[in-house]
């Protein structure tokens, strides 16, 4: 099977705009959370600075910025007929609901045009696992033999639409979120954009996406399975033939809602990963939705390269049963593989296995 490498990354986050900057911010526990006035209920979020921005769409602006940075690092010609584009987003330009620009397809067309991509883009919109599912889609496009490189870009901007929706579900915390903590009380929303260029070739040692899976709980559209069914099945698929002690860590979804974190703990234990270090990044970035799978994968690659397991900001006391190996402290690792895990509405769960590979 064709190996697929990550050869370029780009980021736009409230705590930094390069992978190195963002890694340093996460290690230092730097966040951009604050309380914002809502409609009318206030909310606590990690939002991007819009000052000085004057364009038709902030979403289009940030997703392009991350994608351009990734393309530049990869050194590819985006206009080649062998370059594909996958966009990951949940609500894109939802604030333009009264115009044609609201459609996810329009956002993808705008991004393709701005990047100079000449092949038709595809949008993966799979709720909170969109970024992970989009990376898997990119891997499959390369393995199909039709593409040499695929740009996978994801972003989310926050809006009255998303914030009031999560408030109506009582899923938001008015304090910093606490993944896996006994006192966790909900999630914080976040804004970010992230992009990875995938390639069948790498001219230096690079991170490889070995495989991935998306599985449905077949249980409930807005509540996770009590047995962690889909998450466990996705883990089982990507870890076939992989020993738990090969993994530096599992970077989980860890939204800090009661149900999500408990479900992930069950799935991780069922998959025999109870001793593998686990971390969640929502305490730094909030839930960045369409960007999350790509952003959290990039930060995890950076951390593994630096020989560390990042701390879980917001965690202090074990709040899941059975327990998982989560920590508020940074830890060392010499391992060269990790799993990215996400879950979302619609009963979807996804897992990706990353491994540092040789040049090819």
């Amino acid at each position: 099977m064709t190996k697929v490498y990550c050869i370029g990354c780009g980021l736009v986050t409230p705590v930094g705009n390069t992978p190195a900057e963002v890694l340093a911010a996460v290690r230092a526990g730097k966040t951009a959370f604050r309380q914002y006035e809502g409609w009318p209920e206030p909310y606590y979020a990690s939002l991007l600075d819009r000052s000085g921005f004057e364009g038709p769409s902030f979403f289009d602006h940030i997703v392009l910025q991350a994608a351009q940075a990734a393309v530049q690092e990869a050194g590819i010609d985006a206009s080649s007929a062998r370059v594909g584009l996958v966009l990951s987003t949940i609500k894109a330009n939802i604030d333009k609901i009264d115009s044609e620009d609201v459609s996810l397809a329009a956002a993808a067309e705008t991004l393709a045009k701005s990047l100079g991509v000449t092949t038709a883009p595809v949008v993966v919109s799979n709720a909170c696992i969109s970024g992970l599912a989009a990376l898997l889609q990119g891997v499959r496009m390369i393995r199909s033999g039709e593409f040499d490189h695929v740009i996978v870009a994801g972003a989310e901007v926050q809006s009255r639409f998303i914030v009031t929706g999560f408030q109506s579900l009582k899923a938001l915390s008015l304090n910093p979120c606490k993944p896996f903590d006994a006192d966790r009380e909900g999630l914080n929303v976040g804004e970010a954009s992230a992009a990875i260029v995938l390639s069948a070739h790498a001219d230096r040692p690079s991170w490889e996406i070995v495989d991935g899976a998306v599985r449905n709980d077949a249980n409930h559209i807005s509540g996770p399975s009590r047995t962690g069914e889909g998450s466990y099945n996705a883990l089982r698929y990507v870890l076939e033939g992989v020993k738990a002690d090969e993994l530096a860590f599992v970077n989980v979804h860890g939204t800090a809602t009661r149900y999500n974190d408990q479900m992930e703990a069950i799935a991780l234990n069922r998959a025999g990963l109870q001793d593998v270090p686990v971390n969640a990044l929502k305490g730094i970035f909030g839930h960045t939705m369409g960007a999350a799978g790509i952003l959290e994968s990039i930060v995890s690659m950076q951390a593994c390269d630096a020989g560390i397991v990042l701390p879980t900001q917001g965690f202090s006391r074990m709040g899941v049963e059975p327990a998982v190996n989560v920590s508020a402290q940074e830890r060392k690792t010499d391992k060269q593989a990790f799993v990215k895990l996400l879950s979302g509405f619609g009963g979807v769960n996804g897992a990706l296995l990353f491994r540092k590979g040789g040049a090819r």
Partner: protein
Amino acid sequence: MKQVSIPSGASLTALYREWVGDYPKFFKMDTLSKLGFLLTEMLVHDEPDRFTFREDRAVLVFSREGCIANDRHYAESMQDFPSPALFVYTLPNIVSGEISIRNKWGGESSAFVLESYDEARIWALVRQAFQDKCTQSALVAWMDCKSDTEWVTNAWLVDKTDML
């Protein structure tokens, strides 16, 4: 390969009574989910061992408009009293979730948005989805639902062997 569709504006309640009748959760769904649910029933109603958990069937839904019809309903409710019941359907993949729940399909479920209806592109993406070694068959649907009365649908049940 089996193929079905539902004409634009057809009575979905009448189709529900004809094909199903005993799944009251249907009435809580948005129009997109109702369409996906009914198209699936029409394709698999006579399959043996229905409702036994299986992981080898993927649900792959495609559209241009995503869940825009329900997004508009939620946006209206938001002006007054944001409705959690409408908000949960503001995702293009809730329909694939509803299909998975009804049928106890624990395999892949994914929602894709394309610029326009293009069968060649749909089949290219479906073929790529079969790279998952677990997936042996797939429920594939193009459902473009502009409003509660206007849509274009086409759904297929495909086996891996159809794709080789």
